[in-house]
Each structure stands twice: as structure tokens, then as C-alpha cells.
């Protein structure tokens, strides 16, 4: 446990020295800010047709999840691949540290960074809370944010796993991006056309676990298990990948 924490702490600090992490954070906050402003503006314009309903926070968390698909590969790409490139992998693999502790530590560092970024976005619900009467739906907000946190955890887990397979971080970036795009948009397609077995693909479809339930204020244990399983799968792949390198 101490090893995981040591690795995670270093990784977390590295993000604050990394231009890419700042660019991604800025991008996320700006895009969400624009979405927020536009939503409020149009809502106010059409106030007469809203029949007393109020905007809710899913207008932020919805696009947020979409941005995560495209931006998180840039945050995970270097996590393990950079160690290979710099030769520091030799240092870590000869330190008294288990391979999985290294992978989990890397993931935890990136996850803590994402939690920090997600923390900043709490500004939007706070502002919204002042704008609508009698305040926003707290339950929906909790559920949607839990969704964002779970989606981030899963993406980061998969990202670390893929990063461990590459020595080139750009190769890791594209492989991660493709994986995310498949999991988020494409894996559900077969469910529409297949006569049988559609359930499997529907279950694997990542976006339905977020948009249909968590982002709509419904917390199902099955969704939580789905995201946690993906996280674990990514971390497991990463550990195996590092272990297998030793034998080559």
C-alpha cells in the first residue's frame, strides 16, 4: 500500500509540471464553461415555453463525459510508456515493488489529478444553484458526478493498461483513443442489428451506463460494477504487460 502511495504521489506531482495536463484541464474547463453559458442563455430565451422547469446539472456532466473520451488518452499516454523510454523502468523494476503496485500507483496518481480537475468543475453546479429556485436537484447532481468519477476511473485504468504496452507515448495515445471511441460509441452498434446476443453488446456499451442511468439521476449497482470492472481490467492488463516484458 505504501508503494502505491509513493508512486501515486510522484505521478500526481508530475501532472502539475506537465504542459499537456494544463492544456487538457484548461480545455475541459473552457468547453464546459461555454456549454454552461449557452445552456443558461437559451434556457432564459425560451423561458416562456419551459413551464416552470429548471436547467439541471446534466447539461454539464453530459458533455463532460464526451470530452473525457477525447482528452483522457493525452493524460494517460505517458504514464508507463515514458518510463520505458527514459530507462527508469529498470529502476522501478529493480526496486522492491510489485508490478501491480506500480500500475495501481500510476492509475491512482492520474485519478487523483482527475478528481482535482472534477473538483474545479463543481463551480458550475454551485453557480447554477444560485440561479434556479429553489436550488438544483442535489440527488441528480451527486449521481451525475458519481458517473463522471466512475467514467474517469475506468478510462484512466484502461489508459494505464494500454500505456504499459507501448514504449512510444504517441502510439499509446492513439491506441487508447481508439479503444475509448470503440467502447463509448461503437460497441453498442451490433446490438441494433444482431438478431441474437444483442444483450451482451448492449451491456458493454459504455455510454448507456452513464447517460441512461447515472446522468439521469439513477444509481444502479450494475453500472457501478461495470465501471469498476473496466478499471480493474485495465490495471490487470497493465500489470500483465509489465510482467511479460521481464520475460522477453
Amino acid at each position: 500500500m505504501q508503494n502505491i502511495w509513493t508512486i501515486a504521489r510522484r505521478e500526481y506531482k508530475v501532472y502539475f509540471n506537465s504542459p499537456i495536463a494544463y492544456v487538457i484541464s484548461l480545455l475541459i474547463l473552457i468547453v464546459l464553461g461555454i456549454m454552461f453559458a449557452l445552456n443558461i442563455f437559451f434556457f432564459a430565451q425560451n423561458a416562456s415555453q419551459n413551464y416552470g422547469s429548471a436547467p439541471d446539472i446534466s447539461m454539464i456532466t453530459g458533455p463532460f463525459a464526451f470530452i473525457l473520451v477525447l482528452s483522457l488518452p493525452a493524460l494517460t499516454m505517458r504514464l508507463v510508456s515514458e518510463e520505458h523510454r527514459m530507462g527508469t523502468m529498470e529502476l522501478l523494476l529493480t526496486a522492491p515493488l510489485r508490478d501491480w503496485e506500480l500500475v495501481v500507483g500510476k492509475w491512482l496518481g492520474s485519478f487523483l489529478f482527475m478528481l482535482t480537475l472534477i473538483g474545479f468543475t463543481l463551480l458550475f453546479p454551485i453557480i447554477l444553484n444560485f440561479m434556479v429556485n429553489p436550488g438544483i436537484d442535489q440527488g441528480l447532481m451527486m449521481s451525475a458526478y458519481l458517473g463522471i468519477i466512475l467514467v474517469s476511473a475506468a478510462f484512466l485504468g484502461i489508459g494505464v493498461g494500454i500505456s504499459a504496452m507501448f514504449t512510444n507515448q504517441f502510439a499509446a495515445f492513439f491506441a487508447t483513443l481508439i479503444t475509448f471511441v470503440v467502447l463509448w460509441w461503437m460497441i453498442g452498434f451490433p446490438a441494433e442489428v444482431l438478431p441474437a446476443g444483442a444483450e451482451v453488446f448492449r451491456y458493454l456499451d459504455m455510454k448507456t451506463h452513464f447517460y441512461d442511468t447515472l446522468n439521469a439521476g439513477v444509481i444502479n449497482l450494475s453500472d457501478i460494477i461495470y465501471f469498476l470492472s473496466l478499471t480493474a481490467l485495465g490495471l490487470f492488463t497493465g500489470s500483465i504487460s509489465i510482467e511479460s516484458r521481464r520475460w522477453r
Binding site: 508530475v14 527514459m86 529498470e90 529502476l91 526496486a95 522492491p96 515493488l97 521481464r246 522477453r248
Partner: protein, 309 residues
């Protein structure tokens, strides 16, 4: 303590290390000598727990490198060939990170101690990216010394250092080698000669010789070699020296310098000196030249090199 039995490591179809067996005791500095690509780094990586061997066994500090890898890694200090450093960290943060990974209870004191040992105590707040090659090498060495390891494995520890630093690092290694086991690789033969209690010469994955540096020289030299120098031109001297019984292999090295050999035990030097003086030359120098470790090394590694080409 290091004990290696029939260790073999393949990279795909290529055999990097081929059934090597050796031991290193506590309080011993063992030198690993060989040309590039001989299998030095591979062997060291196996011993440091970086990768398992294909065949054979290795024990370091009493633990098996495969089955008890973590125990081995706790007790080994390892400096890889390319010094693994994080350029975006300060020297202190980097060493503190490594000390934390090793669960050292008094991490900050250990970092200070290690920095003092390598003479870097005044650079601890600097970023590693700003350090020179020699300083990086020393930071890497400090990393290997942090936990006062029982066994120290150093892959080319003095590479990239300036001459003064080389002397410092060698003294440091000698000091450590008094109590612990040190395995160091080098292709600088004088370094092995000065530093090591015992030398393993490795070529193409096999150990070709193993002995103390002095014995290696003695064993392989075969004949005693002598160099002599006279005033003026010595063109006719070789013919006369050749006639002295016991003298072999007379060579004119330059106008005034001659080299010859004699079998150990029958010292022909007085006879040679008399002959030269009698012939009317002024003898300026008569000196025994031992076979250097360089020559031994070339001798041992030449055959296989030639046969490959």
C-alpha cells in the same frame, strides 16, 4: 554474496549469456570485464531482479532471484548502464522517492548520507535536468547506496566521469567493497586492475578467464619480456642478442629500441647487457615489461572475434 550457477539468458533466438557460473563473497570486489555485447549488462540485470534467467540459477544475498525476487531487490543496490533518472525532479526529491520505495524509516537522513558519499551534498536542490553527465552518474550511484545494500551491482560506474571524479568513485567503491559484495562491470582494464580483488573476463556470453588481476597477468604472460634502449642506431644488435642462449623473439621496435623474451627462471639480462657493452654501444635502458591486462584481454577475446568475421 552472489552465487550464479549455469546462468543462461536468451533474447529470442540470440543467446546473450551462456551457462556462466561464478561466485562473489562478502567483502570482495568482483570485476566483470568484457567487450560490448559480451553479456555483462544482461547478467547484471538478472542479478538485480530486472528479468529472470532463461536457464540456471542465481542467488543474491542468500535469496533466489526468481522465487524471492523482492527479497533480492531489497538487498541489492543497482546502478544500470544508462543511469535511470527523472529529469523533472530535484536531486533530493528523486532520492527521497527511491528511499520511500525502499521504505527507509529515516529517509531524509539516508538521502543526505548518500549525497555526501558521492560528494553532491551542495546540489541536492537542483533539478536533475540541469546536471552534467558526471553528476548524473553520481546521483545514480547515490540511489544505489541509499539503503546500504549488502550487494552492490554497478554497470560501468565510472563512465562519463572526469579523472578526478573517477578517482573519488573508485575510492568509494573500494571502501564499500571492504564490507559488502560489489560486482562491477567495466571495459576499462586498468580500472579492473586497480579496483577488483578478482576479475571475470566474459566474451560472447561465456566466461573465458577468472582470477585475480595479478595471477591473470602471470598465468597468461608465458614468457618474460624485456625492452632495451641504446644510444645511436641499434640495427646490428638484434643479430648479436639472438646468439645468447635462452633469448627468444628478438624484435627491433625502433631505431634504438629492441624487445626480446626469455623463459621464466633463466634470466638472461646480465648476459645481454654484457654483450651490448662489449659491442661498443651505450646501454641507456633495460626494462622488464609485463603483459598488460589489455593484451591478455585481447588475447583471450581475439580468437572468437576473428572466427566470427
Amino acid at each position: 554474496m552472489i552465487r550464479v550457477t549455469e546462468l543462461t539468458k536468451d533474447y529470442g533466438p540470440r543467446r546473450a549469456v551462456d551457462h556462466i557460473t561464478f561466485e562473489a563473497q562478502q567483502g570482495e570486489i568482483l570485476g566483470f570485464l568484457g567487450p560490448n555485447g559480451a553479456g555483462k549488462t544482461t547478467t547484471m540485470r538478472v542479478l538485480a531482479g530486472y528479468m529472470p534467467p532463461t536457464l540456471g540459477e542465481a542467488q543474491v544475498a542468500g535469496y533466489d532471484v526468481v522465487d524471492e525476487s523482492l527479497e533480492v531487490r531489497r538487498r541489492v543496490g543497482y546502478l544500470p548502464e544508462t543511469v535511470p533518472l527523472y529529469p523533472d525532479m530535484t536531486v533530493f526529491d528523486y532520492l527521497k522517492f527511491m528511499a520511500d520505495l525502499r521504505h527507509l524509516p529515516d529517509a531524509e537522513d539516508r538521502v543526505d548520507d548518500a549525497l555526501e558519499m558521492v560528494g553532491m551534498e551542495n546540489r541536492s536542490e537542483g533539478y536533475i535536468s540541469n546536471l552534467s553527465k558526471g553528476m548524473r552518474q553520481r546521483v545514480g550511484l547515490a540511489q544505489a547506496l541509499l539503503h546500504k545494500p549488502e550487494v552492490l551491482i554497478l554497470d560501468e560506474p565510472t563512465i562519463g566521469l572526469d579523472p578526478a571524479q573517477v578517482v573519488d568513485v573508485r575510492n568509494l567503491i573500494r571502501e564499500i567493497g571492504k564490507e559488502r559484495t560489489v560486482l562491477l562491470s567495466t571495459h576499462i582494464l586498468s580500472e579492473a586492475q586497480q579496483l577488483c580483488d578478482r576479475v571475470l573476463i566474459i566474451n560472447k556470453g561465456c566466461i573465458v578467464a577468472e582470477d585475480t588481476p595479478d595471477n591473470l597477468r602471470g598465468r597468461l604472460a608465458g614468457a618474460e619480456r624485456v625492452m632495451l634502449r641504446v644510444r645511436g642506431e641499434a640495427d646490428e644488435l638484434p643479430g648479436q642478442i639472438k646468439k645468447i642462449p635462452g633469448v627468444q623473439g628478438v624484435k627491433l621496435l625502433s631505431d634504438d629500441t629492441i624487445e626480446f623474451q626469455f623463459a621464466p627462471g633463466q634470466d638472461v639480462r646480465p648476459a645481454v647487457a654484457k654483450t651490448i657493452v662489449k659491442a661498443g654501444y651505450d646501454l641507456l635502458e633495460l626494462r622488464q615489461v609485463g603483459m598488460s591486462l589489455e593484451e591478455i584481454f585481447l588475447e583471450l577475446t581475439r580468437d572468437s572475434t576473428v572466427s566470427e568475421e
